[in-house]
Amino acid sequence: MSLTRLRLLLWLMVGAVGIGLVALVWRQSDPQRSASTSLGTIGGPFTLIGTDGKPFASSKLIGKPSAIFFGFTHCPDVCPTTLARLTKLRKQLGKGQDAFSIVLISVDPERDTPADLREYVTLFDTPVIALTGSAAQVEQVKKQFGAFSRKVEQPGGGYNVEHTAAVMLMDEKGDFVATLTPEEGDQVALDKLERITA
């Protein structure tokens, strides 16, 4: 290849990158595109069963932001730790227990009866809304929230449930805002809670 042809080829490549960059900037500055994200698809109305054994409609959560967590009462480490963290964060936020609802949705409806959940939440020194339901109801809610869980048989009998660790933060209208994950520091978590309770 002659030097002139090589030079031409290189310039063509520079040109292609330039066109790509312009296209990228144009795409990002398109207001319609940046306004529509897929966040709106997480959540939505659902019906489960409350600790009183009666149907619990998600409309009861509207009017106050909420922190929704998928867990189960036979979970020794991660679930009580997450609820303890939410309890602590709600105190640190300093806006009282009404600032946002802490909601636990059981991913183990087979074992978690409303009575079990009622007893479980009394372990925490703060109001927690605990919900269970039929297997189909829980499956449906998991799907709406993009939450994952699966049963894992244990060697000594019984089973553990693996589940999404993130807490879903919803605003007072019930719209998804952000997640709280175990890895992020408390300051990041507090900033997010500050935002949904502003």
Partner: protein
Amino acid sequence: MKRALPICFALLVAACGQNGEPDIQLGNAWARPTRGDSPGAVYVAINNKGSADDRLTGAFSDHAAMAMVHQSELVDGVATMRMAGEINVPAGSRIEMVPGGTHIMLEGLRAPLKTGDSFELVLKFRKSGDRKVTVDVTKAEQK
């Protein structure tokens, strides 16, 4: 060369020092309360003040049918749990179990753990043998 000999000897002695004894001390053992037949999780601080490594190989308690060294892990955002196997406790190191990581899982508790209660747990070490520690049941929202 002659001058280097004592240095070589000193290095050899230092290396031999690795064959000393581990000195395992347990402390700060706590658990959250539990309900019904749910398993519990105990968190312990292990201090090896000795000059040799040791390994945590297992645990048992009169308060539970089974005690296992467990590890919670986050895999692609999903909380999972597995047996931890043996845990190395190097000479001069301190391992503090914290929620969301390594813990002693108690399966088949004789009675649910209640805030304010305490019970004994034994951790088994390869060299140091069985070491006892008292576990305090804290409030659920502690730590």
